[in-house]
Structure formats: structure tokens, C-alpha cells
């Protein structure tokens, strides 16, 4: 029986895991770096251990320090959250050697899924669709042309030794095949001294759709349907929703079966995610498996009514999965947005700093998973995500309206956040219609830029607020002595605030 868990993470996910622990009557142990003494996960936990300096490679990524804290606190298990050591097979191995349960899959499953080529082969043999293409590098030009004909256009030709886009060629027309292959080969030879190439089906209008699975240690595995994650900026997910607006019941069932088959192929145990790339015609191909909890897991929790962290813990504890595939249902629609400490109007520049004031959105159908509080200084050492806002409603349309309402009420000052940008995404016509792919953000720049302010009144209101604040501070500096009552009520208020905040 797991009675005490160390959470080898920080930020919102550490607290999210500890919440489920608390509901299960399990003690939680936090670890913290020098930058995180005042972080909420330290305050929320039952115990807390220092594990090193601020940079994560000196603290949260140091296996020995985590294991050391786990031994000191005599925990039964370690939950890695996401990021940091969550997909580190060596860490999972270490835990096992020390007799501590690792809440996640085996090192074998991680290693297999962690290597793209190995994973691809494994999936193919398990009958999971993969992106059509070559697994072995091709040097012969005729073989390349033959392969392209087999796969069908469009295809992408990639230098097998390459990277960074060099030697890459997109081929869309029959007549370009030969010339593209030879130019890709010579560019590859010139750049990398190796003219071998891979060929892969090119997905024109790609959707990123992933399936959540849960598998226990007794061979039971279910999927908890899909999440649509195509709203991405520089390959970072920004908005996720479930169900996917392009999904059909038939394809969902097929993909779900393949997701379960994929997990079973590596004897998976725990919570995991099978990522697919999907085109407009709902052709879908396995991309990779994430062998951990995803950032966007809450939308599945809401729509399927399952606490994924509790399931993870029960699976690690050796319990038999109680969920049955034919009893699982999707109810309504959920959307998640990720709030980052960044300036969306200034090239998404990170914006660490001190939270001066926060008003969290509340009410019907709103879940908020965060960790910052007033007076907390967001450290510059870690990921800039400060919280996740999740809404649910019976319909997608209503969920979008609810998200806008929640974003309206969500106020953070002291740092810049992506809230205005997220609000604009909710207004992009292709998002509203549910017809979008991973290009949505670059394709809709005109909707995503800050709007020019036309209202003179609004500008004047802003000016007045700044001016009043300026004057009232000036007044305060001048007078340590009591200020006369007459005509300074708003300063009164300011002073009262200061008094109560001291």
C-alpha cells in the first residue's frame, strides 16, 4: 500500500499530484531547489527537502539528490510529474533498485518508445499505422524514386545524417521527383558528407490528435478518447480541446483501438499518450508515445470523469484497473489554455517577476490549476507556464464562450502573460468553426495581433488612472505626517491598503 509519495517536480503539476494524494490519504513530500523555497508546492506538501541550486540540472534533474530525499523521507513511491525526470529510464531504474515504486511505466517501455526508429518498427509490427516512409536510409536514386511512387505524393525527402532543415525537399509534383531526389542527395553530401536520404509521406494539413490510455500491471488497458492539440506555436501546444472537432465516432473507435494496441506492444503500465498526426481526410499515423502524464490531461479528466493521477497511483500500487472500455463515455466539451509568463505582443519574450496581484477566474464549469500567489516571484530558471485554465460546457460553442468569460475575469499584474493572446485565439474564425490544423497560429496573424485602440475615451481612462496613481504616490512620499482628509478619498483608500498589507 502506498502511504507516502515524493513528487519529483515543481509548479502546478507538483501541486496537482499532491491534491490527489491528499484525497487518497497519502502523505506527500516535496523537493525544492534554492529558487523554490517559497514555491507553493513546498507549502502544500506534508514534508519538503532541499535538493540543490536553482538551475534544474543541479537540482530537479539530479537523480541522486531526488533518491536521497526519497530515502530520507522513507516514501513508498515517486511521482515524476511531466518534464524533468519523467521520461528518464535511468531514473525509473534507480527507483526500482532502491525499492521505491516509480509511478510510470517500466524503463523498457520508456526506452522503446523513446527511440523514434525502434518505436516505429514496434508499432508497425503491432499493426499501428505509422507515417508511410522509409526506415532505412536510401542511397540509390532509383530505389528512392520507386519508394516515392509507393508512398504517393506529396513526400518529404530528408538527409539521413541531417538536421536543421538542410537537405530537406518537399515534393508535390510527379515531374519534380527525380530532380528533387538528386538535389537533396547532393545537398546532403555537401552538407554532411553523406548522401543517404529518408523519404516520408508529407501531411499537408496536419492535425495533432492524441489518445490518452491507462494500462495496469495485469494486462488491462483502456483508452480515454482523444485530445485535439493542433493549436501550437513553435511546436508548443497553446490550446487543447476534447472531443476533437474533426473526429467521427468510427475513426475515434479505430484510433482508440490502435492506441491500446500501441500500449500493449510495449507492455505499458500507467498513464500514457499516443500522439497521432491526422490529415483533413482523417487518415491518421502514429507519431510518438509520451510515457507520462501530459500537461493537458485535465480536459480528459473533465469529459471522461476520471482522476488520472489517482489512476496512476492505483496502477503503480498493483491494483486492477476498474475502468471498462465500454463504460467510458465522453460527456460535453472541455478546453484548456496554458497561461505563460510571457509578453505576447513583444515576440513572446519571457516575463519572470513578482506577482503583484492575482484574480483567479471562478464559477461554473471552470477549473484552474496553478501555483502562483500574490507576492510570489516567478523564478527565471524554469518553464514559464504559470497555470492552466480548463473549462467545460455541454457544447463546444458554450465552452468557447465560457473560456472567454474565464479569461475576462483572470487578472495577473506584475508580469506579462499570454492571456490577451489566448483570448484572441478564441475569436479566430477557423478556431470558432473547429476547422483548423497546426498552422492555425501562423495562418491567422492578423487576428492574433493586438487590436489598435480606436476609443479616445478608453485611452483617456487609462491616462487618468495612471495620473491619479502618480499623484497619490507623490502625495504619500511628501507626507509621512497624516494627510488632511479633505479631498483625498482615493488616497485614503491607497493608504488603508498599505496599512493592511504591512
Amino acid at each position: 500500500m502506498i502511504k507516502k509519495i515524493l513528487v519529483a517536480n515543481r509548479g502546478e503539476i507538483a501541486i496537482r499530484v499532491m491534491r490527489s494524494c491528499r484525497e487518497m490519504g497519502i502523505q506527500s513530500v516535496a523537493v525544492f531547489s534554492e529558487a523554490d523555497r517559497t514555491s507553493m508546492h513546498v507549502r502544500y506538501a506534508d514534508e519538503a527537502y532541499y535538493i540543490g541550486p536553482a538551475p534544474s540540472n543541479e537540482s530537479y534533474l539530479v537523480i541522486d539528490n531526488i533518491i536521497d530525499a526519497a530515502k530520507k523521507s522513507a516514501v513508498d513511491a515517486i511521482h515524476p510529474g511531466y518534464g524533468f525526470l519523467s521520461e528518464n529510464a535511468e531514473f525509473a531504474d534507480c527507483c526500482e533498485k532502491e525499492g521505491i515504486l516509480f509511478i510510470g511505466p517500466s524503463a523498457y517501455a520508456m526506452n522503446t518508445m523513446g527511440d523514434k526508429i525502434t518505436a516505429r518498427r514496434k508499432m508497425q509490427s503491432a499493426g499501428v499505422s505509422v507515417v508511410p516512409g522509409t526506415t532505412d536510409p536510401i542511397t540509390d536514386i532509383n530505389e528512392a524514386v520507386k519508394t516515392i511512387h509507393e508512398i504517393g505524393l506529396p513526400v518529404m525527402i530528408k538527409a539521413s545524417a541531417g538536421g536543421g532543415g538542410k537537405g530537406m525537399r518537399l515534393v508535390t509534383k510527379e515531374e519534380d521527383i527525380v530532380s528533387s531526389v538528386s538535389s537533396a542527395k547532393s545537398e546532403a553530401a555537401a552538407s554532411f558528407g553523406n548522401d543517404a536520404v529518408y523519404i516520408e509521406k508529407y501531411i499537408n494539413s496536419p492535425h495533432h490528435i492524441e489518445f490518452q490510455i491507462l494500462a495496469d500491471k495485469h494486462g488491462n488497458c483502456v483508452h480515454l478518447f482523444e485530445r485535439e492539440c493542433s493549436v501550437q506555436r513553435r511546436h508548443q501546444k497553446v490550446v487543447e480541446e476534447t472531443p476533437s472537432p474533426i473526429m467521427t465516432a468510427e475513426v475515434r473507435e479505430e484510433m482508440g483501438k490502435q492506441a491500446v494496441a500501441a500500449a500493449k506492444a510495449v507492455n505499458y503500465a500507467g498513464a500514457g499518450t499516443i500522439e497521432f498526426i491526422v490529415d483533413d481526410e482523417l487518415n491518421y499515423y502514429f507519431l510518438e508515445m509520451n510515457t507520462r502524464l501530459q500537461v493537458e490531461h485535465p480536459i480528459t479528466e473533465r469529459v471522461v470523469s476520471v482522476d488520472l493521477v489517482k489512476e496512476q497511483i492505483k496502477i503503480a500500487d498493483g491494483e486492477v484497473l476498474q475502468l471498462k472500455q465500454d463504460e467510458l463515455r465522453q460527456n460535453g466539451h472541455a478546453i484548456e489554455v496554458r497561461i505563460y509568463a510571457e509578453d505576447p505582443d513583444n515576440n513572446f519574450m519571457p516575463s519572470p517577476g513578482i506577482i503583484k496581484h492575482i484574480t483567479e477566474p471562478l464559477g461554473l464549469g471552470v477549473r484552474h490549476d496553478g501555483y502562483v500567489y500574490e507576492g510570489y516571484e516567478i523564478p527565471m530558471f524554469y518553464d514559464p507556464m504559470i497555470s492552466k485554465l480548463i473549462v467545460w460546457a455541454p457544447s463546444r460553442e458554450e465552452a468557447i464562450e465560457r473560456m472567454k468569460r474565464a479569461l475576462y475575469a483572470y487578472k495577473i499584474t506584475g508580469i506579462k502573460t499570454s492571456i490577451p493572446f489566448l483570448n484572441r485565439i478564441m475569436e479566430v474564425p477557423s478556431f470558432v468553426k473547429g476547422r483548423y490544423n497546426t498552422h492555425i497560429i501562423q495562418d491567422n496573424e492578423k487576428y492574433l495581433k493586438p487590436k489598435k485602440v480606436k476609443s479616445q475615451k478608453l485611452k483617456d481612462v487609462a491616462s487618468i488612472a495612471a495620473f491619479v496613481d502618480y499623484l497619490s504616490k507623490l502625495e504619500k512620499q511628501k507626507t509621512s505626517a497624516p494627510v488632511t482628509e479633505q479631498g483625498s478619498n482615493w488616497k485614503e483608500c491607497g493608504r488603508k491598503k498599505n496599512l493592511i498589507r504591512l
Binding site: M349, M380, F381, T413, A465, A466
Partner: protein
């Protein structure tokens, strides 16, 4: 007394004509407003103007520069006092560099690409700073000479801290 205010670069004059408790009468250029203004939380003002409810958040950058957020918009506002007037009169507003390079946010100096006395061309990167797992390059706008480098690689820096002085 009338002040000047710069909002997103546009200058206007502003004056409080009357005040009665939370209610003030303000003149901005030739526009007169009667409004009810209260600081409800630190840096957060609630304003009622013609019965419309406005929520305005102020992020002071220093004691006279503010980033001001309304519901869907963000403004850069400067209250111009005697000191600012003097400084402004000296500054040629031709998109030139400030007299030093700084970053808007705290971070860590990753790389310094120049040293004292270097001549750099407009568009050259002079320093790279990292924050939150992201690196940002800082460039000069025009040709410049490096007057002084105030930080070292690996240093932790604050937001708006002068890093490199320019001539």
C-alpha cells in the same frame, strides 16, 4: 496644475479640475470627464464613467512610467514631470539606441559578444540573455562604440538594469 502625459507615444495635457471624495473632474486636452475612481486593490483601479464600469491595472515600471492594462488593451504611459521634460528635450527621438543596453526582464547573461571600445554596426547583437529556458539576443539599432560592459557572462541580472553602455 496641468501635467503632460505620453500615452503610446502621443502627448496630451492632463489636469484635475475638481475632486470630491472618489469623484474627480479631469480635463485631458479639451475633453472634460467626471468620473468615480477608487483603488480597489494595489495597482487596480475601478472607474465609473457615465455609469460604465472600467477596470484598470497599473504596472509601474518606475515612479512615472506605467504599463496600463484595460480589458483588451495595454498602454505605455509616462507622466512627464520637470525631470522628464529636461531629459526628453535632450533626447533625439529618432529611433536611436538608449544610452545603454538593458533587458525588460530579469535573467542570466549567457554571452557577451563585445568588449569595451568595440565598434559595432546597427543590427549587431551585443549580448545574449536567458530567462525561462529561452535565450534572447539584444542588438544595437545604429552604429555605436561600446563604452563600458557592466556585467559578466553568468551574471544574474535584474530587469531594466544597464548591461552595456553605448557612446
Amino acid at each position: 496644475m496641468s501635467y503632460e502625459i505620453k500615452i503610446n507615444g502621443d502627448q496630451t495635457s492632463i489636469e484635475i479640475l475638481n475632486q470630491d471624495g472618489n469623484n474627480i473632474e479631469v480635463l485631458i486636452d479639451d475633453r472634460k470627464y467626471n468620473l468615480d475612481i477608487v483603488e480597489v486593490e494595489t495597482g487596480v483601479y475601478s472607474i465609473l464613467l457615465d455609469s460604465k464600469s472600467y477596470n484598470v491595472e497599473l504596472i509601474p515600471n518606475d515612479n512615472k512610467n506605467y504599463t496600463v492594462n484595460t480589458l483588451y488593451n495595454s498602454f505605455e504611459i509616462e507622466v512627464i514631470d520637470a525631470e522628464s521634460k529636461y531629459l526628453n528635450s535632450r533626447k533625439k527621438d529618432d529611433g536611436d539606441d538608449a544610452s545603454f543596453i538593458s533587458t525588460p526582464m530579469p535573467g542570466k547573461v549567457v554571452k557577451i559578444l563585445v568588449k569595451e571600445g568595440d565598434e559595432v554596426k546597427g543590427g549587431d547583437t551585443v549580448i545574449i540573455v536567458s530567462a525561462m529556458k529561452m535565450e534572447s539576443e539584444y542588438k544595437v539599432v545604429n552604429d555605436k562604440i561600446i563604452k563600458k560592459v557592466l556585467v559578466s557572462e553568468g551574471d544574474t541580472i535584474k530587469g531594466n538594469q544597464p548591461l552595456i553602455l553605448l557612446e
